[in-house]
Amino acid sequence: MSILQDFLNYVGANSGYIMTQFFRHFLMAAYGVLFAAIISIPLGIFIAKYGRLSSWVLALGSIIQTIPALGAMAVIMIVMGLGTNTAIVTLALYSILPITQNTYVGMKDVDKTVIEAGYASGMTKFQLLRMVELPLAVSVIMAGLRTALVIGIGIVAIGAFIGAGGLGAIIVTGTNATDGTAIILAGAIPTALMAIIADFVLGWIERLLQPGNMKAL
């Protein structure tokens, strides 16, 4: 009961600070996923076209995924230094696999007969990609972005240890205070909420982009 009271007091007194860190946390996660998407979507398309490379690329992505985030962040910190950039790059690395994989799967799942029809109607390769394959694959690609963002929000929380700030910094503050449970909650609950909201919103967009629903737009 008193923890709840402490928690409400802390949140009430520091709502501005928590909002600032929330926003900062979200931006770091969003930028990381954005940069990963810029690399991974073309990469996914590429390996879908040149199938031989796919197993190699996806294996590499899986290997990156197995490295503990804290360890990866520490290594990247040696190269990139302290602060937000390092957190963003680490998270971008972890986002490569889900986005590449989903782009690959999305592209592969496009019905071959549809592609043939497009080809027969005189479309160039690029037109095929833009007008047929991508629109059909986009909802699966969105699912990849969604997974990446949700994982990313968790990884950014660790960024507190390399000076990146964000909601993770609030959690660390709590662990150092005497009876800091209230502060830990004030960092942890918004982090969890952010992940849930991100999952929900991107899930909604994903459903909207499903080929059957496209007309509704």
Binding site: F35, L82, T84, F126, A160, F161, T173, A177, T178
Partner: protein
């Protein structure tokens, strides 16, 4: 196919520029922001917030905090690489043995002079005026015990030491130089020594499990648990006076920062820092609020409006 290459090219250039300069919304990624590095302790973050508030008031620079750094060495490396421009708190004793790799200097003034000179020469950094407080090791007992037996300084404990339980933090026991071995040589042995996690030390003293503990002099919990810090009469512990350290390039660009550090300098006593830490660690007040309240209470803002002191 050419168009695809063209578009990919544009995208690549865009990516490089984005990584190269600032990301909207994240001040720390911009080159014009003064980045202030602070340690994981509240004290360091409070001082970083004070500097940030003052710098944003007095200069047109933006500030960003790089918080929760693990140690002074991390701060030092960050400053060498340019990841941070200002370290909010650096301690003479720590950096003489850490960044400078020298033997401990027991005289506080000589220690301060040494770091000022060496940091300027070796690293092109300015070790500014001390804030006025020091976060050194010290021995603490309960106030009750001190009053009953009339104990003011560490030497006063000697007659009782054989029967006392001494609680210390794990790191200190095995420290060379100013650790327990050195302590025994200068002062005396305690009857029983119990190494434990630092967080437990103060509580153990307060509830009577420990009779004496090794404490950090600015820790807010000293106040919370009503402990008394004993005077280091034989000057065994090296001085750990706290100062901000600033990159000289930043100082050239914003000379006002020098004025700011002078104004905050020598103003905060160890007891006052205990109180500020107490607010942050025990009363769970946000460091930025603690900093702002302190500056307001001490009229730093009014002075600024009148055009300095």
């Amino acid at each position: 196919m050419k168009r695809v290459c063209y578009k990919a090219g544009i995208l690549l250039v865009l990516l490089v520029t984005l990584v190269g300069c600032s990301l909207p919304g994240l001040a720390g990624t911009s080159k014009d922001t003064i980045k202030i590095g602070s340690l994981v302790q509240s004290e360091s973050e409070i001082m970083a917030e004070m500097l940030a508030i003052m710098i944003e008031r007095e200069t047109d620079a933006k500030t960003d905090l790089v918080t929760k750094l693990g140690s002074s060495i991390v701060q030092h490396q960050g400053m060498e690489r340019g990841d941070i421009d200002i370290s909010s708190t650096r301690y003479t004793g720590t950096d003489i043995s850490g960044a400078l790799g020298m033997d401990p200097i027991k005289d506080p003034e000589k220690a301060l002079k040494t770091v000022k000179r060496e940091f300027d020469e070796q690293f092109n950094q300015t070790w500014a005026e001390t804030y006025g407080f020091e976060n050194s090791y010290s021995i603490a007992v309960t106030k009750e015990f001190a009053e009953e037996n009339d104990i003011e300084k560490i030497s006063d404990l000697e007659p009782y030491a054989k029967d006392l339980n001494f609680g210390v933090d794990n790191a200190w026991v095995n420290r060379e130089g100013d650790g327990y071995d050195g302590f025994k040589e200068t002062y005396f042995d305690f009857g029983n020594v119990y190494p434990m996690n630092l967080g437990l030390v103060y509580q153990a003293a307060a509830n009577g499990d420990m009779d004496a503990v090794l404490a950090y002099s600015t820790d807010g919990r000293i106040k919370e648990y009503d402990l008394k810090v004993l005077k280091d009469d034989k000057r065994f512990f090296p001085p750990y006076d706290a100062s901000p350290v600033i990159n000289n390039e930043v100082l050239q660009k914003y000379p006002e920062i020098k004025e700011i550090t002078k104004r905050i300098g020598n103003e905060i006593t160890t007891e006052e820092m205990q109180e500020l830490n107490h607010q942050a660690d025990v009363k769970l007040i946000n460091p930025r609020k603690v900093a702002k309240k302190f500056l307001e209470k001490n009229n730093y803002f009014k002075d600024a409006e009148k055009g300095g002191d």
